[in-house]
Each structure stands twice: as C-alpha cells, then as structure tokens.
C-alpha cells in the first residue's frame, strides 16, 4: 500500500503531522454441531485508522474504504475534527524510539496444513467427548485461525510492522444428570504451531470440568478461605492494572494516586509486563510507535510504576512506557500486553491441603457489570468447588463472591506455581486469598 499520497494530501490541507495505522487481516473458522460442519467462515479485510495534528490538536478518522478519494477524504475529516478539539494537551505524533527489539513470531506453517485435517481433529475431539460419558449430551467445537499484519507509519518517516497469527480450538461440553441438572464446561486452546494441540489433554480437561460440576448447589453464606483459579485471578488483576493507567491517575479516577513506591499488595504478589517475551503476544512497539520494554509493575507488593502513553508521559514529565494500544477502530488508550504473575513455590494441591476447609472459585461471571473498575468494589456470580479436608470437594454454583479488589490483593496468602499463558495474553497463577465473603444460602 502506498501511503505517500496520504502524506502529500496532508501537507496540502495544512496538517502538521499524520499517523497511519493499517491492519490487514485474514481468517478462517468453522464450527461443528452434532458431528457436522455447521458453519464455515473466511474473511479478508483491511482497515485504516488515521490521526493527524492541525493547529496543535488531534483529529481522528478511520475507514475500510480504499479508493482514489480515500486519502483526500481522510485528511479533510482529520482537519475538520481537529479544528473543534479543545484538548489542553499538546498533540504529539512520535518521531521514533532509538531501538526496537526484533523477533519473528509469525509462523506461516498453519497454511500448509489442510483444512480437512483441522476439521478431522475437531471431529475426533467431538467423538471422544461423546464416548467419554453418557451424561454428555451436546458438544460444541469451534476452530478459528487468522493472521494480522499491522503497519504503523507517520509523516516523520517512522515505519513499523508487526505480523502475528494464531489458531484456536474452543471445545465445550453440555452434561445433564439424572435429576435434569445441566452444566457446561469448556476449554480454549491456542497456539501458532498446529502440532501443539493435544486433543487428548483438551478432551480430558473438558470432561472433568463439565462432569465435576453436576449437582452443584450454593454453599452457606459466610467468610471462606478462598482460592481463585488462575483464570479468575487474571480477570480480576486486569482491573487492578487498569488503575495503574496514568490516564486514570491524571483524571483522578484511580485508587492508586500517589502510591508508586508504596506497598499496595501482599509481598507474595509480583506482576510484570513482558511485551518482549517470546510468545504469540510479543510486541516490539506500541500503537503510537514507542518501543516496548519489560518491566515490573508490582514488585513483592510494592507498586513500581504507572503505565504511560505519550500524552500522559509528557504530562507527568517521564518517559513513555510503551503502553498505548488501540481497541477496535477507536483511539488508542493506556493498556498492556503479555502480563506475567510471578509464580510462587507451592502447588495448588499443597495450598488446598494447607487450607483444609475453604472454597475454590473456578469461574466468575458478569465482570463488566459487577466490578466497579474505579473503586474496585465487586460482587460477582461465581462457581467452583468446596475445599474439604484439604482436597477439592463437592461442586458449588450460583454463589457470589464480593469484596474490594485493592483489599483483596493485600490479603493474598500464597501464589500457586501453576503459571499458564491464557488466551487473554495473561500468564497467570491461582491465588490463595485469606478470607472472602461468599453469599450463597
């Protein structure tokens, strides 16, 4: 794609600088229902997200159109939108970092594996699940693969590229017992190397997760020693991390104002952002073109840094941390990739045995509504298992866990050693929380 014409048009209308973020994506996906391909999808798309500076202010425009008139249209929209912008911050388009770490994470081998093969693996998992237990009544399997090529360039000559791909199987079983109680269990398995898929392991995990929930009931209300499964821990901690955004600090909507250097969590908790880690979520630059860096956000309970984009780094007079990412076709905001919770020494089983009697929460629902991202107050529908005599016991469902996120992280007694990279890009571990209020019957 030739972007020169955009920069020429920008000059003509008097834009001071222009940034173009383009993404080329392609995907293939299918879903299986009762052994047959129920739906099959392919896609091939392009999008351009542009921003420019006019009279010192930003204007924004995005489009999926790619014809002769597009460059002129885009720069004119930017000019019009910038001219009513009143933001007090000085608009800045990044001239570039000194050095960018290079690493190839794209793996094009997935294209060499025939689609029939990917369908066959799905059918194999479906059969295995149905055979595993008569209580398994329905199975849903979805597969998707895709790649994305991002190009970030600007009128200062910056030109950065990021090329990634992934393959995902979503496997879900529905089981019903003799009392008519229905439960679902699923596993999302992802990689960019097809051989990594271990169908037997996926099937076993889904069978266990589904059947073990049957007959689940609410437990008695009260305060429990609680273990949050790593997936739940990751969901909750991502809300904590959003409070470390310098934007939230600047706008006074964070509980972490003036807390850098202070102990804000249990000394068991260390959280790092590792954008340069060698996995599928590797990023060498953020969506403003700033080179990323690995860093500790929380070190043994002490808050080490806020996360900065260009605008907020300037406001606080610090270096940007490479934490500006776009969501959808909108403007970028302070965010993070590749978060790692540092694992502890004890296994989940050791922690259960230490607890004796408590509760193990394996899933929470309704985070978008039940979590107040600012205050950290939450009350969430949850399910899991009782911890009885030091072991995982009977299933529990339709309970709520409640608390305050900022209090909760102070009450982490142990971080388990069960680190796993989740599809959200979070390498998480299960957390043992001293005490949590549970509401059941």
């Amino acid at each position: 794609m030739n972007y020169k014409v955009y920069f020429e048009e920008a000059k003509k209308v008097g834009l001071e600088a222009l940034e173009l973020y383009s993404a080329k994506e392609s995907s293939l996906s299918f879903s299986l229902f009762r052994g047959e391909i129920e739906s099959f999808q392919v896609s091939d798309t392009y999008s351009l997200i542009a921003r420019g500076i006019y009279q010192g202010k930003f204007g924004y425009c995005s489009t999926e159109k790619k014809d002769k008139c597009t460059p002129k249209y885009v720069v004119e929209q930017i000019k019009e939108n910038a001219s009513i912008n009143e933001s007090k911050e000085e608009a800045e388009i990044f001239k570039g970092s000194e050095r960018y770490h290079k690493r190839k994470v794209y793996n094009g081998d997935y294209k060499l594996i025939p689609t029939e093969h990917k369908i066959a693996l799905a059918k194999e998992m479906e059969n295995a699940l149905r055979k595993a237990d008569p209580r398994i009544r329905e199975v849903e399997i979805e597969y998707s693969e895709g790649e994305e090529e991002v190009c970030l360039c600007n009128s200062y000559g910056l030109n950065l590229k990021n090329h990634v791909n992934s393959m995902v199987y979503y496997v879900c079983a529905h089981a019903t017992d003799e009392d008519g109680d229905t439960k679902t269990g699923y596993k999302v398995s992802f990689t960019n190397q097809f051989d990594d898929f271990n169908s037997e392991k996926i099937v076993n995990e889904v069978v266990d997760k589904t059947l073990s929930q049957l007959g689940g009931k609410p437990c008695k209300s009260g305060k429990y020693k609680t273990v949050l499964d790593k997936k739940v821990a990751a969901s909750l901690l991502s809300f904590f991390l959003s409070s470390t955004s310098a934007e939230a600090i600047a706008k006074k909507s964070s509980m972490l104002i003036d807390k850098v250097g202070e102990k804000i969590a249990s000394s068991k908790l260390t959280i790092e952002e590792k954008p340069l880690a060698h996995n599928m979520f590797f990023r060498s630059f953020d969506d403003e073109g700033v080179a990323t860096m690995n860093k500790k956000i929380v070190d043994r309970g002490v808050l080490k840094t806020y996360l900065y984009d260009l605008k907020n780094a300037r406001k606080f007079n610090v270096e940007p941390t490479g934490n500006s990412y776009k969501h959808g076709n909108g403007k970028a905001s302070v965010s993070f990739v590749n978060i790692h919770v540092k694992p502890g020494k004890k296994s989940l089983e050791q922690i259960f045995s230490e607890i004796g009697n408590g509760i193990y929460i394996t899933s929470v629902e309704g985070l978008h509504a039940g979590m107040n991202a600012q205050s950290g107050n939450f009350s969430l529908q949850a399910k899991g298992y009782m911890i009885e005599n030091g072991k995982m016991g009977s299933p529990v469902t339709l309970i709520t866990i409640a608390g305050n996120l900022f209090d909760m992280i102070k009450n982490i007694k142990e971080v388990a050693n069960d680190a796993e990279l989740l599809s959200s890009g979070f390498t998480s571990c299960s957390l043992y929380i001293k005490s949590m209020p549970i509401s059941g019957i």
Binding site: Q41, V42, S62, H368, L380
Partner: protein, 463 residues
C-alpha cells in the same frame, strides 16, 4: 452499491456447486463521535465501515465470508472460495431480481448532517455543565455518536432490499469521589431518530443532574447485605433482567439446537401468570427497531409470553429450518463482518396494574433495585447475574437507606415464575447486546416489578 446484474453473477457463482440459497449483504456505515471530557472537547472521530458478506446455505450447513473489496473481482474471488465447501452440481439458477420497496418508518426529522459539529458541541457542554451539581463530582464525560448504516441485500430467491438505519446516542457519565471512595453513574439515551431526539424530545439537562445525583447518593451508601430476599426491580433498564434471564434463551440460535432451557416449551407456562412480554422491532424510532431485519425480512411485533405461557420464540430463517418454525423478522448482525442469527430488537415486559408504592408497602424486608447495570447469562443453564447501580433497602414496607455493591443472581426459569407484582409504569431503555452476530443496539424494558425471592450478593453481611 452494486448492480442487480453483478449480484446475479455472484449469486450464480455461489450456486454453482449445489448450495440451495445464497445471499450478499453490502454495507456502508458512516459514523461521527464527539466526546467532551471534563467540559472540554477531547476527541472527534469520523469512521467508515465498508464491505460485503456472502452467505451460502445447504441443508443445515452455512458458509460465510466477508471482504472490504466489493468490486466484481473481490466478490467473485470470495464467492469462488466459499463455494468450495460444497461439491455438488448446480441445482438452481438465481431467480430474476426484484427490488422490494420498503417504507422507512424511522426516518429522522432533523438529520445529523443538518446540525454542525459546533452546535453538537454546545449541546454536549450544556449537558456536561448540568452534571456539576456538587464539588464531589470530579469527572464528567459526555459523548454523542451518530451513525448512518446503508445496507443492500440480494439473495438467490430474487430479492433485493435496500435500507438505511440512522441512529444516535448520548452517553452521560460521571465520577463522584470523597474520602470514602469513588462511585460512577451513567445514562445512555438513544434512538433510531435524528437530532430531534436530543434537541426536542428529551430533557437532557434534568437527566444529567439525575446521573450526578445517583453517583453522590451511592457515595454515602452502605454495603448491600446478602442473602435471599424479595426484590423490587425498577422500570426501564431493569428490563435487562428479562433480556438476560429469558430473552437470550428464547432466541432460535440456542432453542433450535436444544441448547436452551426453553427448548420444546412452547405453549407451556414459563412465567407467573401476570407476566406477558414482547419483542417489538416495529416501534417507530425505537433504538432496536428496523424496517427490515438483516436478511431483508420485515420487522415484527412478536408476543413472546402471554399470561405466563410461552407463545413465540425469536427465529431467523436458518435456525427456523432446524426447528420447523417460520422466521419472525429477528435476523440481525452488527455489520457485514458477522453472519446473521436470531437476536432481540426491543424486548420488554408489558405493563400490569400495581404501583411502585404498593410493591414497596407489600415488602417487609427486601431490596429496591431502582436501576440495574449490565449482566450476563449462560443460555444452557439459564443462570444469570447482574449488577445493581442504584439500590435502597426496604424495611417494614418503607424505603430506608441506599446500598451499594449489590448483585442479583439466579436462574431465568425461577425468577420468571417468582414475579408476583407487575407495575403500570412501562419504560424502555437503550443498550448494546453482544452475542454471536456481534454487538447490536437493543431496547430493554419493563414496568417496575416485584420478584418474591432472588439471591442478592453484597458485602454487607447477612441479616
């Protein structure tokens, strides 16, 4: 966007390996967004969504693809890639294409383009200013988005439909803070109307003050106690309970596969006999309304529940085939990037006879959940949860004090049976509903209702 002639060529390419139905959905959506953050214009955006989706169906198998390249070359390349999923011989030709004339029942009176961005900014600032009722209001964000979606749909039965959907929505959000903590509050009025909705039909200044007041009230609220108790659920957005706990489980996408708690329940009682509910895509100017759905079928008013008896599901043609039911004008998608499926439009419980006062008075101890936040449901089990944004305790038949942090959880089939009073104050509210075919505008709604017993989660301990 494309000619009848080109559509026929592409559809015939799709049919050439034996599929029984093919469809092209073309879309161009232009949107504009202005955000005023802490009283200053912070962001102004223009966005264009542009592309086509092609769908092929044979028996119970569907194949879908999408692209931004809607030239003959782009569409033919997509069609020939999709047709490889079938390996038969062409069984039918695309029928001669006839344009179906539709009447636009939701056309704006004051088009967004007739009002300058400066005038829109002035309105947003007036609303933002109105929220500053107390020094504990530390942040205000007011934004307005409008979009014009133009769609053109062709299918192999010879149908051509074009439609334009023009929507606008305002978000008013405030953050209140004192030494005890932070609370936020939000309202988001919207409609399939023009600027008249914001300029003439709504008192935005009063609504903005109310938003700020709720955040302040919640600052002083105690933690909500937990346990099972009667809950009076406020009108308007309170209808999200019905949307989550029942609506999703009545969509053919899960019903037709026996994956819903309400599969095979038509004609049986699923709610208490004072409950009737509709999904009505025909309301003029309604946020979730349409002239036609995203397969070009006329939007309808569907009576879902009549006096507690399940009357109708929401059905799209594809899932309708699986369950032997006719379509109900319910096939929707966020954009050309999504294969359509059965979704809600404007879904609400119909008014009854009780008043809010009567419901409070009839409750010795319980929760008045005046305004709800979002929630979610597992359609297989019917288990739902949602957050309460504004709530008060009811003691001895009187509202006593505000409480925060409450969550309502339960299972859809239980809560519907447990509705024991339905008010007369029906109100609808706007939301975005996310599911398989993307995020689409829907109205939820209800009069104030009382549920005999719901599990309330909160941090205030048990009674």
């Amino acid at each position: 966007m494309i000619t009848k002639n080109l559509a026929r060529i592409v559809l015939n390419e799709c049919l050439s390996t034996g599929c029984e139905f093919a469809e092209i959905f073309l879309e161009q959506t232009e949107s504009e967004g202005i955000t005023v953050d802490n009283q200053l214009v912070e962001t102004v955006t223009s966005n264009t969504i542009y592309g086509a989706g092609i769908r092929l169906i044979k028996n119970l198998q569907s194949v879908y693809g999408y692209t931004n390249d809607i030239s003959k070359k782009g569409l033919m390349a997509l069609a020939s890639s999709l047709k490889k999923s079938f390996d038969g011989n062409q069984e039918k030709e695309c029928a001669p294409i006839h344009k179906v004339r539709i009447k636009n029942r939701h056309a704006p009176k004051v088009p967004y383009s007739s009002v300058s961005k400066e005038e829109k900014v002035a309105l947003l600032k007036k609303v933002a200013q109105a929220m500053l009722i107390d020094e504990r209001i530390v942040r205000t964000i007011v934004s307005m988005n409008n979009e014009t979606q133009t769609v053109q749909i062709f299918n192999s039965n010879g149908k051509e439909v074009t439609d334009q959907r023009i929507r606008g929505r305002m978000h008013m959000q405030t953050v209140a803070k004192d030494e005890n903590g932070i609370e936020t509050s939000h309202e988001g009025p919207g409609a399939q109307k023009g600027m008249e909705f914001f300029l003439d039909e709504n008192d935005l200044v009063s609504e903005a003050k109310e938003v700020a007041q709720v955040a302040l009230t919640m600052l002083g609220a105690k933690e909500c106690p937990s346990g099972k108790m009667p809950v009076v659920i406020g009108n308007g957005f309170g209808g999200v309970i019905f949307h989550e706990a029942c609506g999703h489980s009545l969509e053919a996408s899960s019903v037709s596969k026996d994956l819903s708690v309400f599969s095979h329940k038509q004609g049986t009682q699923i709610a208490s006999n004072i409950v009737s509910a509709v999904d009505d895509g025909t309301i003029p100017g309604g946020w979730g309304s349409g002239n036609v759905d995203d397969e070009g079928n006329k939007c309808k008013r569907n009576l879902l529940i009549k006096n507690g008896i399940l009357n109708s599901y929401m059905v799209d043609p594809f899932n309708g085939k699986r369950m032997g039911a006719s379509e109900t004008g319910s096939s929707r998608r966020e954009s050309y990037r999504y294969e359509p499926t059965s979704r809600m439009t404007n879904t609400f419980i119909l008014p009854g006879k009780s008043t809010v006062e009567e419901m409070i008075k009839a409750t010795p101890y319980g929760l008045y959940a005046k305004s709800l936040g979002g929630g979610s449901v597992n359609p297989a089990t019917g288990e739902f949860n949602f957050a309460v944004n504004e709530a008060y305790m009811i003691e001895d038949g009187k509202i006593t004090y505000p409480v925060k942090g409450a969550t309502l959880i339960g299972s859809g089939k239980d809560v519907l049976m447990n509705i024991d009073m339905v008010g007369s104050d029906l109100k609808r509210a706007q939301g975005m509903c996310g599911a398989a075919s993307g995020s689409i505008p829907v109205d939820v709604g209800q009069p104030t209702i009382r549920v005999k017993e719901i599990t309330v989660g909160g941090r205030g301990g048990t009674r």
